[in-house]
Amino acid sequence: MSLVTGIIALVILAVIFGLILGFAAVRFRVDSDPIVEQIDEILPQTQCGQCGYPGCRPYAQAIADGDDLNKCPPGGQATIQKLADLLGREAKPLDEAHGVEDIKKVAVIREDECIGCTKCIQACPVDAIIGATRQMHTVIADECTGCDLCVEPCPVDCIDMVAVTPKPDRWRWDLDAIPVQVIDATTSAKESQHG
């Protein structure tokens, strides 16, 4: 008898708490950004298409649908780690098939060689190239994401990808990277004899 009471009591309790939890889940639901938005937020927005999708947003959609998260070379390992943290998936190393992590670059048009074909303008995913038919084109360096997509269509190969030169106010305090001037050992020896 007592066994039955116990079971009944437990069942009733389970039902009650289940209802409470269920109610809480609906009532106090925390609205979060749709997952695609959050993934898109993490991706570097180079729109380079190296992942095999036409831009960052489509790749974000693909990741949300279950695609691998290691197909973004511009974002590199840091982006993979962030995506893994967000999605609770395992952080894999970058898929070499899609390219390797590289230093930051921007496209530069050798302007005297440009024939004004507008092919690069059409290729640029962020409209960072200005120019018109049969007029010289140029890249807005600040807007260029370094996606590489304009290099291939150029019929005269006048676009170079140039590494971004560091500026003092964007320096990251890498003391080891400072070139040290080497002074002639003999003069310093002479100097020290004086002292």
Binding site: P44, E143, W171, R172
Partner: protein, 570 residues
């Protein structure tokens, strides 16, 4: 000053050995003019001005080399007469030594000046005139941050107190000390001008009590002036920090997201006041500054007037550097200065000290040991931060945590690292983390812009596609309508009217035939082209077409070469 004036305290602070007597015993001397000067076009916070001299041009001392331009930048001037040799990338006076655009001036040894235009009757002049003059004289804050002085004075807020910072709390540095001793009158004149510009607030000249001679000289100089007084403050590093000095003198704290002007305070350095007076009363732009040359590795330490753009090597040579193994050359003081790797680096407006210590004097940092949470760093932090907590977070790269612990409020004074028993280079960790956070913010902004541009482009392409479709649809409708009208009005035979398909096929056949004919013609032409093009094409084609052809030829050649290479490789 008979009445006792209340002073406040900032939390923390340290008493490192002062070692000021090394350089403050002798008067400020003049160094010989160097053969070559490297004048960075940008020597202040902000953008560089527009260059107004050409390579090869002879310039005279005091001549402007850049003008403010659209950005309203601070101009730089030629510190001596000579020839502009080149404008090049030269290692900058920055911890990173990253090259920046620099004008190389080859001195002709004559030191010939332009006629300096001083401002007559400055006390009758309007604020705008004075500000324009200061701006033209290229004056930027000489305390170390090199913020454009005119811009700082142009703050819209009402200023109650003007603080003249003569604290000079950092060990070794004595530039302001010597300047105050020798040029107290001029400094006071400058302070008066500054007061005039910002509406005559009270001026407090704050000097640490370890500079009795400077205090005496300044007190004598201000004797006749009202609204101006010398305030002696206790020696405690970093009391010369802007925020700390404000707290000592007024008890107020500058809001974390604001400026001193928000609480009615403006602070200028004694050197800046001096430069303002020179510019207004003598018309001299900022051409030279007092630099402390100190450290036991120098045979002749002291202070000197050094022309802006003088390479450090020249200065060290005249101060008698005796380099030891692993010699450090520090720009600035031992607490906040940075080591330089290259003695071609020039002296700029913000350089106040060159320190060449021996290894015994300032031994190199020992190995970093684990933090034992002793909390000494917290006791000395003038900003009431938790240095050791920041250190853990910085090592863990927890940038959100760092922001929450107010890393941005760290003034990098180095007090925490100075006392750390484990010799952890705390400030270095903070600097790296700050740079990392800054980069992340910039990258995020760039990514946001890129996303916007990408989405705008997608929207545009979509819109264009829709418009095209719309146009096609309209055209098709119009065609159909026309056809229908024609069908209705025409009195054609029923067979033809009933069989439009046949007509269409016939039309297509005719077109194909025409095309084939054209093809045959081009082939024929091509055959001729090899022989004829050489003399025919250039005459017929415009230069534009010629360039296109040349470019295409080049591309083809390149492609061919590439395939060839591929072939040979494979």
């Amino acid at each position: 000053m008979a009445d006792v004036i209340q002073l406040w305290q900032f939390p923390g602070g340290i008493h490192p050995p002062e070692r000021k007597s090394l350089a403050n015993q002798s008067p400020i001397r003049h160094l010989p003019v160097p053969q070559t000067l490297y004048i960075p076009l940008r020597q202040h916070i902000g953008l560089a001005g527009d260059l107004i001299v050409a390579v090869g041009e002879r310039v005279r001392r005091g001549q402007a080399l850049t003008e403010p331009g659209l950005q309203g930048a601070v101009p730089v001037h030629a510190p001596t007469s000579g020839i502009v040799k080149e404008i090049t990338q030269h290692p900058s006076n920055h911890p990173s030594a990253i090259p920046e655009p620099t004008l190389v001036l080859e001195s002709d040894g004559e030191h010939e000046s332009i006629t300096f235009a001083r401002l007559e009757d400055p006390h009758q002049r309007s604020t705008q005139e004075l500000l324009a003059h200061i701006q033209k004289a290229g004056i930027a804050g000489l305390g170390g941050a090199a913020f454009p002085t005119a811009q700082k004075l142009r703050q819209p807020q009402h200023v109650d107190v003007l603080i003249i910072n003569g604290a000079e709390c950092e060990p070794y540095i004595v530039s302001d000390d010597r300047l105050m001793r020798e040029h107290a009158e001029t400094i006071v004149q400058g302070i008066q001008l500054l007061q005039q510009i910002i509406g005559r607030p009270e001026a407090i000249i704050a000097i640490e009590d370890n500079k009795p001679e400077a205090i005496q000289a300044m007190s004598d100089a201000v004797a006749g002036y009202s609204h101006m007084r010398v305030q002696v403050i206790p020696t405690l590093y970093p009391s010369g920090g802007e925020k700390q000095l404000i707290q000592i003198l007024t008890g107020k704290q500058v809001p974390a997201t604001g400026y001193p002007a928000d609480i009615g305070i403006l602070m200028h350095n004694t050197g800046t006041a001096y430069a303002v007076a020179r510019a207004v009363y003598h018309g001299e732009p900022l051409l030279e500054r007092v630099v402390t040359l100190t450290g036991e590795a120098l045979r002749e330490p002291g202070t000197a007037w050094v022309l802006l753009g003088t390479p450090v090597a020249h200065v060290l040579e005249h101060a008698g550097l005796v380099p030891g193994p692993q010699q450090r050359i520090i720009m600035g003081g031992p607490m906040m200065g940075f080591t330089i790797a290259d003695t071609r680096i020039p002296i700029i407006k913000s350089t106040n000290c060159i320190l060449a210590p021996t290894a015994q004097e300032l031994p190199a940092a020992a190995t970093e040991m684990p933090c034992i949470r002793c909390g000494h760093c917290e006791q000395v932090c003038p900003a009431s931060l938790l240095p050791q907590q920041l250190q853990w977070l910085a090592k863990a790269k927890d940038y959100d945590g760092l922001k929450e612990h107010h890393l941005a409020d760290c003034i990098e004074c180095g007090a925490c690292a100075y006392v750390c028993p484990s010799e952890i280079p705390l400030v270095h960790y903070y600097r790296k983390a700050k740079a990392e956070i800054r980069e992340q913010v910039i990258e995020q902004q760039k990514a946001d812009i890129a996303r916007q541009r990408f989405e705008a482009r997608q929207a545009r392409l979509e819109r264009e596609k829709q418009e095209r479709l719309e146009k096609h649809k309209k055209a098709a409708e119009a065609r159909e309508k026309a056809l229908a009208e024609r069908a209705a009005t025409a009195t054609r035979p029923a067979v033809d009217a009933q069989d439009p398909v046949k007509a269409a096929v016939a039309r297509a056949k005719a077109r194909k035939a025409a095309l084939q004919q054209a093809d045959a013609q081009t082939v024929q032409q091509q055959a001729h082209a090899d022989t004829a093009s050489a003399d025919q094409t250039p005459a017929q084609q415009s230069p534009q077409q010629a360039r296109v052809a040349a470019a295409i030829a080049r591309a083809k050649a390149k492609k061919a070469a590439a395939t060839k290479q591929d072939d040979s490789e494979s």
